[in-house]
Amino acid sequence: MKKYSKEFLQKLYRTMLRIRVCEESLVDPILKKEVLCPVHLCSGEEAVAVGVCAALDDKDFVFGNHRSHGHFIAKGGQVKEMVAEIYVKETGCSRGRGGSMHLIDPEKGMLGSAPIVSGTISLAVGAALAFSIRKEKQVSVSFFGDGATNEGVLFECMNLAALRKLPVIFVCENNFYATHMPVAECRPDCNIVDIAKPFNISSVRVDGNNVLDVFEAAKQAVTACREGHGPFFIEAVTYRLRGHVGPDDNIQGLHTDIRPQEEVDIWKKKDPVINFEKQLLDNDILSESEVSKIKKEIDKEIREAHVFADNSSYPKESELNAYVFK
């Protein structure tokens, strides 16, 4: 921990906390049906997004999936624009046309997210292809879940990327569940990290709840890609503390969350935000008063994002077809 600057560690903590507070701030509005669009909260998975994005520059690109609030924020996306999008307002990052599952901030290199499982992996490969054609040193990152490793297109992408040594980092956020299906019911072998090996892609499995472990793996991947030794595969082992969609699949009456309570409890103890905070306090990187100041600032920021969303207008009916073609 000593090898990192205080500013850097504090930034990691702030970003993780920003994601967590933002996610949890959505729980009530969802339950009260103020937020209607499907929302896939990433509470518990913050360290993956933050660790990976900390190794990237603004000009590096990221593509996400249905659960991408964390990717958007970690890549530097405007929180208030994301919250406004979740409320499907005209001021949202996708102007109310996309909702929670379609988040974009091109200026920050957040190039989009989409809920078709595996659907954006090839797009990340395409971005890396463009870098390679233009002989640029940027890298492209694809975030996907363990469920996506069951789709054929991922394997086609790994093959293509390896064949052309493309600067793309495949980041599998393994949270052990593809919606209602445990990973062991989806795969005969749960060592996802191994799927990259037949393609001669360097791969590493990390504790996805430890932001510094994720950062180190991502840094190694980014360096390899920038030096022309891409692609790279990271399996980040993590867990979602909320339901697949919404705060809790069971609360919503569907009783589809079949995760054993003991399992959830074990992972609650591995909370990436709380544990990192404790680590920072224990190592005297941050004081109690600094932590409480940061928390206040972030609470305020997220409250303001909700106010911004509240005060924003919905898209106009007359502009229904506004973005069909450029």
């Binding site: 307002k89 109310g96 046309r97 919905y314 009916e317 229904l320």
Partner: protein
Amino acid sequence: MSSNNRKLQYSLAGNEAFHQIMEEDESVFLIGQGVKSPWYVGNTARGLLERFGPERVIDTPVSENAVTGAAVGAAITGMRSVVVHPRMDFMIYALDPIINQAANWYYMNGGKSSVPVVFWSIINRGGEQAAQHSQALHTILAHIPGLKVVMPSTPYDAKGLMISAIRDDNPVVYIDDRWLHNVEGVVPEEIYEVPIGKGAIRRKGNDVTLVGVSFIMCHVLEAAAELAKENIDVEVIDLRTIKPLDKDLVLKSVKKTGRLVVADGGWKTYGLTAEISAFVFEEAFYSIKAPVVRVTLPDSPAPASSVLEKAYYPTTKDIVEAIRRIVKKKPVRR
């Protein structure tokens, strides 16, 4: 058999079809993402896993292409496969086995091998789910030679068309709509078929022919009832199957009324309404007294914002107004 007036929800009517045909025919099996999760397929798969076991009720990884291809392969080799795509959008990954393989298989193999597979997919939209969770792609499939496409709008048809689809020796695309799942209607308890390729007249009338299919039939019937108050006499046709089309039923009606309005929950351009209009103009041109009017989605992806959703999805009012454009109000008879 007990009462012929038993009412059942649409989703449970489909469910009963599975229970009965899987009991009757051991070659029938159900495979697809979420068949054990009510969240994916609603009540349509209730009790099937418990009754028929995991060999014949197979929940799968998210591998649409492989799972659909496997269903086709099993159908070629003696099974009657039903593969479910709980959202039509997710089925796009599976268009290769559906179109290149299953649809062409019987023809390109000179009739030596057929594909008794049902591609069951659910249109699942609204609720601000946006563009990749809302698409109704029925006309893409209906365009393909070698595929039959059915879209039941009532619980009775949901059951009978599923039975017919499974018993058919050809690939059949069975499309239901989540918005229909809670609709109740009379469903006989015994196993029965609704013939593929046959529409139904839901209401007799003389002033205008109003054609619809699947969920939009709810709006179509409301519109006809509302116009009846103005003494506009609407003949309502539920296509039930969009490929092969029951052209005779539509033509006979249009020849009587001279006017046609077509409503569809899909997009307008190159869509179902275009096809219906085209064959009516080809085959009943001299009977037509007024322009055809189409009520469809605009040619736009589905928006997230519910404000835009309201503008996006056709309503009863849109259909009423469409008909008023080509049928003049008649004085109410006393």
